[in-house]
Symmetry: C2
Subunit: 249 residues, 2 copies
């Protein structure tokens, strides 16, 4: 095992609908005098992808339903935001004590369906990208074309977790690497066969990237260098537990 480096890319401008995110990243890399190397993994926050893809909702255009209004009133929330969350949801997992955890149309289980008002202009919220894998693939193609080397892209967002305090960054969309690392069948240090270890490598990469991103800073992109992986098409969907294996529905 060799060293891994996590490099922050801070010099991106404010991203807006229609912006060519790939081109913005390429130019930010140039300003930072940061040249990607073969196999580098770009971790990109969902937020700037959503902004570039126009996944923004102006709250004044939203007419909240009666349930959204009632919930919002009970817990001192904005009914229009609740309405947007409910529209993004395929299934409500928990809706109690002011906490709204849903399964999104993509299959992500998270608070507020990933709808978020932070780091966006007043009166607006962002939605998650419509197809995070496709967003990751598109970005990967653009970056690989710009630099002429194989790269990988992870689209990330911070999710809460049951039983543990605080949010942690996870991978929503993946392009260029297998998100799960399957050790089953391999021998451990005592020669036993490992039985059940599948590591969510893409989630750990996203978590690692968050350490240089922070929340209030303009560091929406991180490069991870030195992580050994086998290139693969990859998909964030591999990280979603199927309903039949889910004990916490």
């Amino acid at each position: 095992m060799s060293e891994i480096r996590i490099l922050p890319l801070a010099s991106l401008p404010e991203v807006g609908p229609g912006d060519d995110l790939g081109a913005l990243i390429v130019s930010a890399l140039a300003s930072a005098e940061l040249r990607p190397e073969t196999g580098d993994i770009f971790v990109v926050t969902q937020k700037i992808v959503s902004k570039a893809e126009g996944r923004l909702v102006r709250l004044e255009t939203v007419e909240p339903s009666a349930p959204a209004r009632e919930w919002a009133q009970t817990y001192g929330k904005d009914a229009r935001v609740i309405e947007v969350i409910l529209r993004e949801a395929k299934r409500i997992v928990r809706m109690e004590r002011g906490v709204l955890i849903v399964e999104t149309k993509h299959g992500f289980v998270c608070a507020n369906a990933g709808v978020d008002a932070s780091n966006v202009p007043e009166g607006m919220v962002t939605l998650l990208p419509e197809d995070p894998d496709q967003s990751a693939r598109r970005l990967r193609e653009e970056l690989e074309k710009a630099f002429g080397i194989p790269l990988a892209v992870i689209l990330s967002d911070t999710f809460g977790r049951p039983w543990r305090e605080g949010v942690a960054n996870v991978a929503l969309g993946v392009a260029g690497l297998a998100p799960l690392l399957d050790y089953r069948g391999q021998p451990d240090t005592h020669g036993h066969t490992l039985q059940m270890t599948v590591v969510a490598a893409a989630d750990e990469l996203a978590a690692a990237a968050e350490l240089v991103m922070g929340k209030t800073n303009r560091v929406p992109v991180a490069l991870i260098r030195g992580y050994q992986y086998n290139p693969a098409a990859g998909s964030g969907r591999d990280l979603l537990r199927r309903a039949e294996n889910d004990l916490f529905r």
Copy 2:
């Protein structure tokens, strides 16, 4: 934000009960010609701490109870291992379809109470350390004394997560840094006040470290260098959601 480096420490010998883990790490650092720097965070896998602390159970000494035997028979498991898991549990969270998720005496919610047969000699399993914070504190003291600089220590283990496939490394014990990073009240890039963002920094640090650790390799320790944090006593207990806020009991 500056670069973060994750440095693997591979040259540790097999650890056994009574070993001075701090001394082993100091000597492994010397062999690797790796000199800790101020603020470096040592992430250490639970497994070697448990071994050093003698938290090993010889399965031939375990008499399984009737429920353990029944469960083991139904799902093709070792009844003695199930018995050990049930003894480590304060509360059973889920026990179905061959999956046993419990709350440990420490308050961790995880599969099999952290009882593990991988990377240990045949016929034995490891338990989690009795007090992971204390283990982390002790290791930190020893390392700080050896190098004469402030350091931090995280004790880690890989846990499964509801809704997502694969395990990810999390922090069980923490010494020297605040495990949660609280952004509430700080302005975002648009000057709004961030409402609800508390980041589980120690879990993300543990996840980052796992990227150089792997599962079949002898890399039980990683150094994280360059992560900016405010030194604090710290405790892994801060990462445990209290029962009254837990929607998934």
